[in-house]
């Protein structure tokens, strides 16, 4: 019988701990257990056989850390071959009459993925892929991905298994005492992502004893449609008379884990501290239990790297602002590759209360695939909201979905055959909730019936790809009411039918309806209310519009979705007329400085922006820069150099100045791009992921009028050279914080000096000194950000 068939009808007994047993057999602290497959095959076989004899249906190979980061390719191949041989030999030798399978065991790489760590997502996929390819060739029955404490790494591992084998795959995570993964994901978030990607079973193992894992297991059972697995530790290790003992006894362990089986867990075993004795006791208890039948759960859900978001009664708000359509400033940011502007839009919308961010960065002039991937990666550094990948390009969509750490919303598919053939395979492979537009080859039907018919066809086609109706959300297309006064009605009536007769969720880009009309907010928010009453589940909308947010909070309060009207009351300030930011009181000593100067000196970011906006109505931009912003910055900068102003104050002022500059930029974005002083290429060197210092330098340089091209952190020397050469940049700044990354700095300097000799190089970072800087061949060492500015001014000021 193959494993998938066995899993359908049976409770599956897994094995128990390996590492703790090996220590008992003489494995030294710090020694690699995987090498014992070769050096002590008899010990490994004995342990595997012990588990088979105890009643395990599945034994995991001793390959937890067997990957190319730890071993050479040759040794990896030898280890995996021996490990699978050992498991097969144990299966042969065991006296058990049960169904017995061998799982290729895959643990974490031991590295953290970017952006938190230094391992690239695709590199992680390749690390796992190497192990999977060898394992699959050796004839294992299934793959067990286990003890993963990061959702992104879990995704990389599952993707590698799926792309390199057809084997069944169990995916198990290590949850902490707080019920989350180390990098923050909840069990519900993991179910959303892993089920979307096609894991055969999902579960929890290691880190905690069975009692502490109970709440995690309950969530997994509630949310997952696939079988749930659980492999807890035998509690925590304790030292008793010089011996290591675990604090959960055999009886306590099997009692508790058997109670999970009664609740519906289908695969059980043990992790650290468990032995064949634990497993034997557990297996005999499980043998008397009937498997609880699997039940398909009907949740429409998406997730980020921290949480899952379910669609239900409460409307979901999708922020529409990351989109160049009709936004000059945003277009300009895209053309300039100004990622910070995009990120700020993300953070601001989250602060306004949206639940999902739509991400659309399509412009004919740019490489949309590269930009979308970059935007999705960077947004995941600054916000934990789920994202809606919004693009008409299938390749851009795939690039973004691959890098997305969770189950994304996908915008969009439609009733055209070509669209479905392109998009549905991606939904199937990466998971996702796909927005389906009710249009087809013949355009958008005018009637509700026509749109519902397309929806039915989309559902049927999706089913053929193995995509359930719960993973499709219909957009019945809000058309402009000024062009057709029945347009809104058709949209609303199709919403209602789809919700009621097809049982699917719905979404609308609300703002389209008012196109061409004055006071659009009034039309949008009224239409929003009507749509909600007709069963709208989610709205793509502008969260900066107080009318829209008012409607949302009022609707929730009136629908009984806001207990004690708490959210409504908390946001009541929205409903007051928005007044201009309060201006500062003048102090006699600061009489000479203008309001704007004082706001910058004091570091009041919002005021600096608001005052600049006001000034722009009457004062030419250049006059504001030279007469207000620069003098204020100079005062703070000089104070910093004299040590009367300290770093946090300097930065707050710089940020206030930046917000003033941002207003000026918005004002000017119609006109010509102003000539900067010259380009400054900035990077944290290869291998280093510290970038606070570099970001500070960037902020100050921008304030002083330099065009800064920020290459980010962990930047290879060739990339720095490429940017410097392409822009013929007169200046480059390199930052390194670790002694181990100074060689990378030296290498970068050497390459620049050789291939781009015109470029002056300034270096900085915690471990550097002037002597060290000279040693690596840099032109200048700057002890802080102000000194970098001064150096830059000397060179091209």
């Amino acid at each position: 019988m193959n494993f998938r068939e066995f899993l359908k009808e049976n409770i599956v007994c897994l094995d128990g701990g390996m590492g703790t047993l090996l220590q008992g057999k003489g494995l030294l602290p710090g020694e690699d257990p995987e090498r014992w497959n070769l050096s002590h095959p008899e010990v490994i076989r004995e342990i595997h056989r012990g588990y088979f004899n105890a009643g395990s249906n599945v034994v995991c190979t001793n390959t937890f850390g067997a990957n190319i980061l730890k071993f050479s390719e040759k040794e990896l191949e030898a280890i995996l071959t021996a490990a699978v041989e050992n498991a097969k030999a144990a299966r042969e030798a065991s006296s058990s009459q049960k169904e017995r399978f061998i799982a290729l065991d895959i643990g974490p790489t031991g590295k953290l993925l970017k952006p938190l760590g230094d391992l690239d997502f695709e590199d992680a996929v390749e690390v796992f892929a190497k192990t999977v390819r060898i394992g699959a060739r050796l004839g294992v029955d299934l793959v067990m991905v286990e003890t993963m404490n990061d959702s992104y790494e879990t995704k990389a591992a599952l993707l590698a298994v799926k792309e390199n084998s057809d084997l069944p795959v169990l995916v198990s995570n290590a949850y902490g005492e707080d019920g989350k993964l180390m990098t923050g994901a909840t069990p519900a978030a993991m179910v959303a992502m892993l089920e979307g990607m096609g894991a055969d079973a999902i579960g929890a193992n290691c880190s905690l004893g069975p009692v502490q894992l109970r709440s995690v297991v309950e969530v997994l059972l509630e949310k997952a449609s696939v079988p749930v697995l659980c492999k807890p530790n035998a509690g925590l290790p304790k030292c008793v008379n010089g011996e290591t003992v675990f604090d959960v006894t055999v009886e306590e362990f099997s009692e508790e884990v058997a109670s999970f089986v009664k609740k519906g867990v289908r695969l059980v075993g043990g992790c650290c501290g468990t032995t064949p004795e634990y497993i034997s006791n557990l297996c005999s208890k499980a043998a008397s239990l009937a498997p609880v039948p699997l039940k398909e759960k009907n949740f429409t859900v998406i997730s980020s790297y921290t949480h899952a978001l379910e669609f239900g009664e409460k409307p979901v708000l999708i922020g529409e602002r990351i989109n160049p359509t009709g936004k000059k400033r945003f277009k300009q940011a895209l053309l300039e590759g100004d990622m910070d502007h995009i990120l700020t839009e993300g953070v601001n919308q989250q602060e306004k209360g949206v639940h999902v961010l739509d991400v659309n960065v399509g412009l004919p002039e740019i490489d949309e695939g590269a930009m979308l991937k970059e935007a999705v990666c960077r947004l995941q550094e600054v916000t934990d909201l789920p994202l809606q990948i919004d693009t008409a390009s299938v390749s851009a969509m795939e690039g973004a979905l691959r890098r997305y750490n969770g189950k994304a919303m996908i915008n969009s598919v439609n009733g055209k055959r070509e669209s479905m053939e392109a998009v549905f395979p991606l939904v199937k492979k990466y998971g996702g909730l796909v927005v389906a537009l009710t249009l087809d080859e013949n355009g958008i039907p005018e009637t509700a019936e026509g749109r519902v018919k397309i929806a039915q066809r989309i559902l049927k086609t999706a089913e053929g790809y193995g995509i359930a109706g719960k993973d499709i959300i219909f957009d019945t297309l809000a058309m402009t009411v000024s062009a057709d006064n029945r347009a809104a009605l058709a949209t609303l009536s199709s919403l209602k039918t789809i919700k009621e007769s097809l049982g699917c969720h719905t979404s609308l880009g609300v703002s389209n309806v008012s196109f061409g009309l004055p006071c659009r907010d009034a039309v949008n928010s009224t239409f929003f209310t009507m749509a909600l009453e007709n069963g709208l589940s989610a709205a793509i909308m502008n969260p900066y519009s107080p009318d829209m947010m008012k409607t949302y909070y009022a609707y929730c309060a009136l629908k009984g979705l806001d207990e004690n009207c708490a959210a409504y009351v908390a946001h009541a300030e929205l409903f007051a007329t928005v007044s201009a930011a309060p201006l500062l009181q003048k102090k006699p000593s600061e009489e000479a400085a203008s309001e704007l100067q004082r706001a910058i000196i004091k570091g009041f970011r919002d005021q600096a922006g608001a005052i600049t906006k006001k000034l722009l109505a009457t004062v030419p931009p250049l006059e504001i820069v030279n007469g207000e912003i620069i003098p204020a910055l100079n005062r703070v900068g000089e104070g910093f150099e004299r040590k009367t102003v300290y770093l946090p104050q300097l930065l707050m002022s710089a940020e206030a100045a930046k917000s003033a500059f941002e207003e000026i930029k918005t004002f000017l974005s119609d006109g010509e791009k102003k000539e900067g002083k010259g380009t400054f290429v900035l990077a944290t060197v290869h291998g280093d992921i510290h970038d606070i210092g570099k970001n500070i330098v960037k902020l100050l340089l921008e304030n002083y009028g330099f065009d800064v091209v920020d290459l980010g952190k962990d930047v290879p020397p060739e990339k720095v050279l490429e940017a410097v050469s392409e822009l013929r940049a007169p200046l480059a700044g390199l930052s390194a914080l670790m002694t181990t990354t100074v060689p990378a700095m030296e290498e970068t300097v050497r390459l620049l000096k050789e291939k781009a000799p015109w470029c002056k190089i300034v270096v900085g970072g915690a471990v550097l000194t002037a002597e060290y800087a000279a040693l690596v061949g840099a032109d200048h060492y700057a002890k802080d950000a102000m000194e970098t500015v001064r150096f830059a001014q000397r060179i091209i000021g």
Binding site: G30, L112, P115, L116, M182, T244, V382, T644, H690
Partner: protein, 187 residues
């Protein structure tokens, strides 16, 4: 044997944080920024430590600086401590959009992990009724940074407390410490 413990949050020292942020004269705006950052970071820390007692014959102890450090000690402990990944997320978030906040959050993270190490060393003192000598870490003084690899192998840091070592020996989460601490008889 490796032990793993979770420690309750040690008290916050604002003065230390400001010092780490490079602020030596605290104007109201800086303090306001500190308070806002503390509020945002609240609840974002996990205080985890894993450690093991080193036997006298452990290969690590052959290194001269460690031999010298532990010479007056009766117990030899190697440990790894981390306050988790959430503070790194906050620092990264504001690194792009508000370096002032990033700087302050960075300082808060440093203060938190140092406070965690202090609390852990005090708990060792209580447990063994001994005095802890000031802890030392790889990369400081005469201890080479390359010792990190051995420490990570010994403590199984990723599995125990979710701490990983990058290829340039950089720890992730970054607000983490590995250190040796010796315990000697109280005099």
């Amino acid at each position: 044997m490796i032990f793993r413990i979770s420690v309750s949050a040690p008290p916050i020292c604002e003065g230390e944080i400001l010092r780490y942020a490079g602020s030596f004269q605290n104007d109201p705006q800086t303090v306001a920024l500190l308070r806002e950052c503390l509020e945002e970071a609240e609840g974002k820390f996990t205080y985890r430590v894993c450690y093991r007692l080193l036997e006298e014959d452990n290969a690590l102890l052959a290194s001269e600086p460690l031999k010298a450090y532990f010479s007056p000690c009766k117990k030899r402990v190697v440990f790894a401590a981390t306050v988790g990944v959430e503070i790194d997320r906050l620092i990264t978030k504001y690194g792009r959009i508000s370096p002032a906040r990033a700087l302050m959050l960075q300082a808060i993270g440093t203060e938190r992990v140092e406070a965690l190490c202090d609390a852990f060393c005090q708990s060792l003192e209580r447990e063994y009724q001994m005095k802890a000598v000031r802890r030392i870490s790889p990369g400081y003084g005469k201890l080479p940074l390359s010792l990190q690899k051995e420490i990570f192998d010994l403590l199984d840091c990723q599995r125990q407390i979710g701490l990983t070592l990058g290829s340039s020996l950089l720890m992730c989460p970054t607000k983490s410490v590995t250190a040796f601490v010796g315990l000697k008889e109280r005099t």
